[in-house]
Symmetry: C2
Subunit: 454 residues, 2 copies
């Protein structure tokens, strides 16, 4: 299998083949592509072209492609299919976690119809179980397919049972060990099963050191645990410790990527998961909310500055440095909030108290503020500005940098304590507030210094 | 094994036990903890306490803990140990990729000493091989430990050979199939080996659809491929296609996390990988460079605004909206650059040309700019501002938003083409440039409109 690169020519060629219904050529192309590549191709196809391609694929591949599609494209495509086809062509051929993800995005009525049309009643039951969990919990991430053995079994019993269980499962990472009540006890590796004499009993071989999560554990917590402990799969247990599913690393990688992208987008003032090739409307919807808040903040800021009209009339040079003071406040605020948000996201907050963190941030900011205000003092001094202006800009720089730094640290900590997403407190939010407060500090200090010195 | 939470009390208690050399109690604590947890505990210990803890652990656990430590802490710790201890106590008990990562961070002289002290000469050779690859390539990520079978082997021969090979390997994800020249042909799952009759030959069973990378493939490319194709391990081949190693998902998760954190930090104006509990000095070093650039930009901006002194003298109300215009330019610029940087990072640039992307961005920005300038027009109109001021702010808003949006899109695209990291073009960089150009646009438009209307 070659590494695949999507090009305009490739798509145009495929569209032409579909147009001329050249089934042999299309079959060859589809056979050669990985489902993830076909999913990329799909995004460039019309509904009719997409249907035609689906008709050519075998059931397993069609199900895999559907799993790989972006949610929006998938729902649009499924909207054109009767629920019986969805059930028998796709859902019947999927792992329970993928099936639940896909059905979870459809209307409840259609979910019921699809489940009722499934050939495999036991997997329909599994999917219905999974649909009852919140999407952003361990229960929402897990699959029901797993291999488990009882602790009192011998190796040949294990192998016999595993062969039966493995028929449904693509990849076996761990074999879980449970007691007769189904309580999770540990894992046993395929390697150990392969290497041990057949007279051994599971109880004497398995590894009892196992990290598991309850079904209601948040997905972020799951991804932090799997990352920290380098796990490729993690068992999920119910309230009494019975094994009810397992989460695999590929699902968690998606969670990690989404979390990182979301934080990045919030820091950049984008509210929605928007991609370069999304529609004009999707882009506007994702960008306008923060711009609107920025506009309101800016209008409010203009009134704050307007309140200082008389000193601006007398000393217009003060306005030359408004941009500098606002920008430094903004930059420092974003830096501070970003560091807190990252620490919260990766749960590396350390063991120090909030007061200690704020005091540390205070020292860092006093250090930075001193350097910056000395530099701007030197610049204005040598550029021949008046002593009042020089002093105002330097003192304001110091105050705004220290304020913005503490503000940028405190706001996400506070939001986190109030159970809001601290990442919202980054980017335009901090900048806008800093702008307003920064201008107030700047002109207040200016009014004071100019009235003293002139 | 319980989920572990590090607290001040826990650390203080452990330090007291070490102080009183209560070996039994410490042994019990260490036995109960996962290496990743011990690594967290380590960050709170002095060198002497850390050494004491290492003395209590068995070799395997000590090696695992060392792997989990942050690079800085690890190097500091290793700096206190003779190279013979490093070799026999740690490196001899590690997977080749972890060993190469750890040695790669030490001086070349010490690397040589450690390798010469290793008991296992063949793994010393493996590590030396790995050290020759760049850290940020597939070769730098891969491990030499893998299980391979020849395509002409029967199932019993496979199992015999695998038992020998597996002794060195913690977890087996895939069994690789090679021909007699060592050329990678495909994979065969443990499941298939388990389920097939013993008379079968590998050639008839293995799966030839395999995605591999060359040793010099960039780590970002590796992580994108493993994410896209949901792989838990990926084989690495040399220039002629021979299997030389494999990369596992846990290493790639680290790459992904680092990439995401780096981009986030760049967007937030932080240059170094800095964490909340790092030293004051590390924080200052990470934050001051962008603040310094912001300072220079701000000083330059003050000169640009200063160039418009005469119009500011006549119409000081113009300065009330400087903050608004600068903020909107900054916000829009960051949004646009963030979307491009994310698309570049996830290689989801789509198949459209650069011109098409810029034209699309132009449409989005014209749409946003129209909405925003109408809103600010309405505000100023109803707030009773002069027509000249109202017109200036609205026209400038429109121009700055459109400019910032195109600028924010074009700069990262250009940087990427010139082989710089496009993420550098986000955050303070875009904001600072936008500030200066925005002020120039604002006051130029103001000068023109006021001279026409008044």
């Amino acid at each position: 299998m070659k590494n695949f690169e999507l090009t305009r020519e490739y798509i145009d060629n495929l569209k032409a083949l579909i147009q001329s219904k050249d089934e042999t050529a299309i079959q060859a192309i589809v056979d050669d592509l990985h489902p993830a590549d076909i999913a990329e191709v799909y995004e460039e196809m019309t509904i009719d072209e997409a249907k035609y391609l689906y008709f050519i694929m075998d059931d397993d591949k069609a199900a895999d492609v559907l799993t790989e599609l972006e949610e929006e494209d998938r729902n649009r495509f499924l909207g054109h299919l009767p629920s019986e086809i969805i059930a028998k062509r796709f859902i019947d051929n999927m792992d329970s976690d993928d099936a639940a993800d896909i059905l979870g995005a459809l209307d409840e009525e259609i979910q019921q119809e699809v489940l009722s049309h499934m050939d495999d009643v036991s997997s329909a039951g599994n999917i219905a179980d999974l649909l009852s969990f919140d999407e952003d919990t361990a229960g929402g991430l897990m699959a029901k397919e797993l291999i488990k053995v009882k602790e009192n079994w011998s190796i040949p019993t294990c192998i016999k049972s595993m062969r039966r269980q493995a028929a449904d499962i693509d990849e076996v990472y761990y074999v879980y060990v449970v007691d007769t009540d189904g309580i999770l006890k540990g894992t046993i590796s395929l390697k150990k099963i392969l290497l041990s004499p057949s007279s051994s009993i599971v109880k004497d071989l398995y590894n009892p050191d196992i990290i598991s999560v309850k079904a209601d554990t948040k997905d972020e917590e799951v991804s932090n645990l799997m990352d920290k402990y380098d796990l490729v799969a993690m068992p999920v247990i119910d309230q009494v410790g019975r094994l009810i599913g397992r989460i695999t690393i590929d699902d968690v990688v998606d969670v990690m990527r989404e979390e990182a992208e979301k934080d990045y987008q919030l820091a950049s003032g984008i509210t929605d998961d928007v991609e370069l090739n999304d529609s004009l409307w999707a882009h506007t919807r994702a960008r306008i909310p923060w711009l609107f808040i920025g506009l309101l903040g800016g209008i409010f800021g203009s009134r704050v500055v307007g309140g200082f009209e008389s000193i601006i009339d007398q000393h217009p040079q003060l306005t030359f440095f408004m941009g500098l003071i606002a920008a430094m406040g903004g930059n420092v605020g974003i830096q501070s909030s970003a560091i807190v948000v990252q620490a919260l996201a990766s749960q590396s907050m350390g063991i120090e108290t909030t007061t200690f963190k704020l005091l540390k941030e205070l020292s860092i900011s006093v250090l930075n503020a001193t350097v910056l205000s000395l530099l701007i003092f030197a610049y204005n001094y040598f550029a021949g500005a008046s002593m009042a202006l020089t002093a105002t800009v330097s003192v304001a720089m110091f105050s705004v940098v220290v304020f913005a730094s503490l503000f940028g640290t405190a706001v996400p900590l506070l939001m986190n304590r109030l159970k809001f997403d601290p990442a919202v407190a980054t980017g335009p939010f901090i900048t806008t507030l800093n702008d307003i407060i920064g201008m107030f500090i700047y002109f207040s200090i200016g009014s004071l210094i100019f009235s003293l010195l002139m």
